[in-house]
């Protein structure tokens, strides 16, 4: 990849370029804004673009840098998934319900990037309330996969994934409740990381399923994900589920050798339903790691099949309560001329939510109802403990676990639209880590019919450093992550040619 072209630069390249004075933050910000303006009507990866505030942030960043006072991300443009609340900037969560919602506060993740000097290009598109695996449920229309605009980018963080894959942002924040970072990263051929539950503050991140939601980075390389995670991770007293544990420098171990690394390969991740091309790419990637000195260990995660059904009880149950606050009373959408309270509730929620969100609220409310709670919710929590135990047992003998991120490459729009269960099976390999609270990553590892395939790396609790090390080493001897969809590398304006 020609990284003299500004939009081909990784975050690490951008930091180096800003440091050396090769270009300014205003220049690269203008470059990205122009690209977004020219190209995003095709991809629909942004819901909101912050031209004026991005340029103001870039100017301020250049000034700080000139003063010799540049924090880690000073002047680096990134995008935030529209699930993170941004003070004074509309935060829609992909829903009509919040189409008019402008929060008076920043999410902790947003605040952390602001403190680190980042420039926020805009807010990326997403499945409504992060419910979806194809980005087709967004109120703002589907996002197109830059590798083939007739296919989905995955979801729910499809906007962030496409923005990064189409070089409309060098990195973007995202969230993962059941695979929403890893699956779109896989389908769009980029690198994405879901941290350990509790590693990144959820404050100001609009809740889907509180016990599963976790924010994380999406970028083109593992190194960039490490740089972003350095900004995102940390204890937050405003989130009681965030964990008070020191944050390492995630770039520190990137260059360690993989000699002696034990890689667990769960047999359940290579069974029926896995696309043969995807399987081949993943097997090849595992062989590559073996060449680097890793040992493959066949393991079993016996409760894998129960992950999807358990998830589709727990996540909707939590969502049914989390989304009850959208009632038209205080903010967000309210139906026209409500007759009375009941009418306001019913029409506001009936008109404000899309079908998938309604489906999950109904499922969740049902699972929690008197008489069904024990059979569904309590049982699902028991299954969740079994799934967690599978991983705890596996990590007794292996350092990381690997397999495919998603069972198939990107599929066409509408392909699974009428079959929610087929859609839910998209997350069959990613959901278990959310239930267990473990960190997971997806890195590009090949193609099937010119569609990217993702290799999933699952780490032990708080072992993000090791996952990043493995991913980075893989990216030192492979170039899957450097591939770009046709035209993306060269399209737009070249470096230094910002006007």
């Amino acid at each position: 990849m020609n990284n003299s072209i500004m939009h081909n630069k990784t975050i690490a390249d951008i930091i180096a370029g800003l440091d050396s004075g090769e270009f300014t933050s205003v220049e690269i910000t203008q470059h990205y804004l122009k690209r977004i303006q020219q190209l995003d009507s095709t991809y629909n990866s942004y819901i909101t673009v912050n031209e004026a505030s991005a340029l103001a942030q870039a100017e301020a960043a250049d000034k700080r840098r000139a003063e010799g006072n540049a924090p880690a991300f000073c002047g680096v443009p990134i995008a935030h998934k529209d699930i993170f609340c941004t003070n004074g900037v509309r935060t829609s969560c992909g829903s009509k319900m919040l189409d008019n919602f402008v929060p008076p506060y920043d999410a902790t993740v947003v605040e952390n990037f602001a403190r680190a000097g980042a420039v926020i290009l805009g807010k990326t598109n997403m499945d409504e309330f992060a419910m979806g695996s194809s980005n087709e449920t967004s109120f703002y229309g589907p996002v197109k996969n830059p590798w083939d605009i007739n296919t989905v980018p995955g979801g729910s963080s499809g906007g962030s994934a496409t923005a990064v894959a189409a070089h409309l942002a060098p990195g973007a924040t995202a969230t993962d409740t059941g695979g929403s970072i890893r699956q779109p990263a896989a389908l769009c051929g980029i690198t994405g990381l879901k941290p350990t539950y509790g590693r990144v503050s959820r404050w100001g991140m609009i809740a889907f399923a509180s016990s599963l939601d976790q924010g994380g980075p999406m970028a083109r390389t593992a190194e960039d994900c490490a740089l972003m995670l350095n900004i995102m991770a940390g204890f937050d007293p405003k989130d009681s589920t965030s964990i008070d544990q020191g944050v390492p420098d995630y770039t520190e171990n990137l260059n360690q050798s993989l000699e002696g690394l034990k890689v667990g390969v769960p047999k359940e991740y290579f069974e029926e339903g896995l696309n043969p091309g995807t399987e081949q790419a993943v097997r090849d990637a595992l062989a590559e790691l073996e060449k680097q000195g890793a040992t493959l260990v066949s393991i079993s995660l016996p409760h894998t099949k129960l992950a999807v059904p358990a998830y589709y009880v727990i996540a909707p149950a939590e969502a049914s309560a989390n989304l009850s606050r959208f009632d038209g009373a205080r903010y967000g959408y309210r139906c026209e001329d409500p007759k009375d309270l009941r009418d306001m509730y019913m029409r506001t929620r009936g008109e404000g939510f899309g079908d998938e969100v309604k489906r999950r609220i109904l499922v969740g409310a049902y699972c929690l109802s008197a008489g069904y709670y024990d059979a569904y919710y309590r049982k699902a929590q028991q299954v969740r403990r079994l799934i967690k135990q599978d991983f705890v047992d596996a990590f007794e003998t292996v350092d990381v676990i690997m397999g495919p991120t998603a069972p198939t490459p990107a599929f066409e729009f509408g392909a699974k639209g009428n079959d929610p269960v087929a859609m839910y099976l998209e997350d069959i390999y990613t959901i278990a880590t959310n239930l267990a609270g473990l960190p997971g990553m997806s890195v590009p590892c090949g193609f099937v019919d010119n569609k990217p395939v993702g290799l999933q790396i699952i780490g032990n609790y708080f072992d993000e450093s090791r996952m990043l090390n493995v991913a980075h080493q893989f990216q030192q001897t492979t170039d899957w992550h450097q591939q770009a969809p046709e035209g993306i590398e060269v399209e737009g304006i070249k470096a230094g040619d910002t006007e």
Partner: protein
């Protein structure tokens, strides 16, 4: 045939924390609507609850005070229902793992009998906001200042069998929480609210269907509401009807109750553990450190009052039960130097006046120091008890001290024995016939005949003569005439 009443209470006490249970907003009562509601209290998207340690501390203090087991692990649940004053559309409360396990308190009745009332559990939860239905042109206003105020909900066993016991239990809890300083006990501001579960049955029969009368915020309303509901249920059954399980509202002004909703059409609250709050674990050291810092509780104070001030058990019960009452009594008794007189005035005139004005002792217009000043003047003979009533009136309506009111009203009683002797001599001289009668009367009848003379002397002194001195001097002079 006799009916038996079975009563259980659910008591909500607002905890006196400075900030809310899950947010940093202030809990001060009476602010402009929605000025004490932050993003979390408004249930803005993305906001998260952070537990207030003080609320847990207070709940544990209560648990220790009622001799209950403190749960090592405390879990919050979400109780889901839609209502505009509940912004998240779920209340964060505790269902399966409440912080305070089973405990008990002892109540004392007017006849001196004691009874132990079991407490099923007490749990922490957040209060809702308020819906305001007036002044909004057919719409409703929502004030979320109260939303998120920490509450401890205390649930009793159905151990009470009449309103006296229920009120005694309620007062006991009021005394405990105010003594602990964990609740300000201001019932008129809603700091303590009582839900009363009532059923009736024939002795020996199974429990009858119960109703719940909600949100009673004074002891008097509670007493009246219980009487009304018991009568309603008995009449209903005796007329061949049946009691349905329902929630009722009592109107203290009209002294009527009405059905709010029946349990048959009740919500399914879809409780589940709140995933935003991890289980809170307390170790023994933490609980023990709280136990060590517990202040004096009503039962201990009762025994001390009996011992230290020589009060009867019943008097001590009244004066020690409520923290403000106890403090008032101790200040007044120590300042006046007369314990018995202080107790009598507090339980008599002061409590009657407070009741009539619907005020708690905390808001008494008459301070303990003012009352003590007045009592000291009774004790030293400056004023009579009768005059003291006028002084009391004066103190009730002003900030002055007893001496200035005595001065202003010219109430000083004449205790100058010379002046009283002159008055006695005058009256004896002008009452020849009565003096003759006295002299001729049988000795046993004489004490009764003194009344006439005392009356005349007091009249002549315009009520200011010291009655005790008048009695002494009169008796001596009349005996001299025998």
């Amino acid at each position: 045939m006799e009916w038996e009443t079975v009563i259980g209470l659910e008591v909500h006490a607002q905890l006196a924390t400075k900030s809310k249970i899950f947010s940093g907003a202030s809990t001060t009562f009476g602010a402009e609507p929605n000025t004490q509601a932050c993003a979390l209290d408004l249930a803005m998207p993305g906001t998260l609850p952070v537990p207030n340690e003080q609320a847990f501390r207070y709940a544990i203090m209560f648990g220790l005070a009622i001799d209950a087991e403190i749960a090592k692990t405390s879990v919050f649940d979400r109780k889901n229902y839609f209502y505009p004053d509940l912004p998240k559309a779920y209340q964060t409360t505790q269902l399966e793992k409440p912080i305070v396990g089973p405990g008990h308190v002892e109540i004392e009745l007017v006849d001196g009998t004691k009874k132990s009332i079991r407490i099923h559990h007490a749990h922490l939860e957040e209060d809702a906001g308020k819906s305001l239905h007036e002044d909004f042109h057919g719409m409703s206003g929502i004030d979320l200042n109260r939303a998120g105020t920490p509450l401890v909900e205390i649930v009793s066993e159905p151990d009470m069998s009449n309103s006296e016991e229920a009120v005694a239990f309620a007062k006991k809890l009021h005394g405990i929480v105010t003594s602990l300083g964990i609740c300000d006990g201001e019932m008129s501001q809603g700091s303590m609210r009582f839900d009363v579960n009532i059923s009736v049955r024939k002795p020996g029969e199974e429990l009858g269907t119960r109703t719940e009368t909600k949100n009673l915020n004074s002891f008097r309303f509670m007493e009246d509401a219980i009487a009304l509901e018991v009568e309603r249920q008995i009449d209903l059954i005796e007329d061949g009807g049946r009691v349905i399980q329902e929630t009722r509202l009592y109107n203290g002004d009209s002294k009527e109750s009405r059905s709010m909703r029946s349990k048959e059409e009740a919500n399914d609250y879809r409780y589940f553990p709140c995933p935003d709050l991890l289980p809170v674990v307390f170790d023994d050291d933490y609980i023990e450190s709280i136990r060590k810092e517990l202040p004096e509780l009503p039962d201990a104070r009762h025994d001390r009052f009996v011992e230290q001030y020589g009060l009867s058990s019943y008097d001590a019960n009244i004066l020690s039960g409520d923290a403000s009452m106890a403090q008032y009594f101790e200040t007044a008794a120590k300042t006046s130097g007369d314990t018995k007189l202080t107790a009598n005035w507090m339980m008599g005139e002061l409590s009657a006046r407070l009741n009539a004005a619907d005020l708690s002792i905390k808001h008494s217009p008459l301070s303990a120091e003012q009352l003590a000043g007045m009592i000291a003047r009774i004790t030293d003979g400056t004023i009579s008890s009768k005059m003291a009533k006028q002084v009391f009136d004066g103190l009730w309506n002003s900030d002055g001290d007893a001496d200035s009111i005595i001065e202003a009203k010219g109430l000083k009683q004449v205790s100058d024995s010379g002046a009283i002797e002159t008055l006695v001599d005058e009256v004896i001289a002008n009452s020849g016939k009565q003096v003759d009668n006295f002299r001729n009367a049988d000795e046993s009848k004489r004490p009764k005949m003194l009344g006439y003379f005392v009356g005349q002397i007091m009249k002549a002194s315009k009520g200011q003569a010291n009655p005790q001195q008048v009695n002494e001097i009169l008796l001596k002079k009349l005996n001299d005439l025998l």
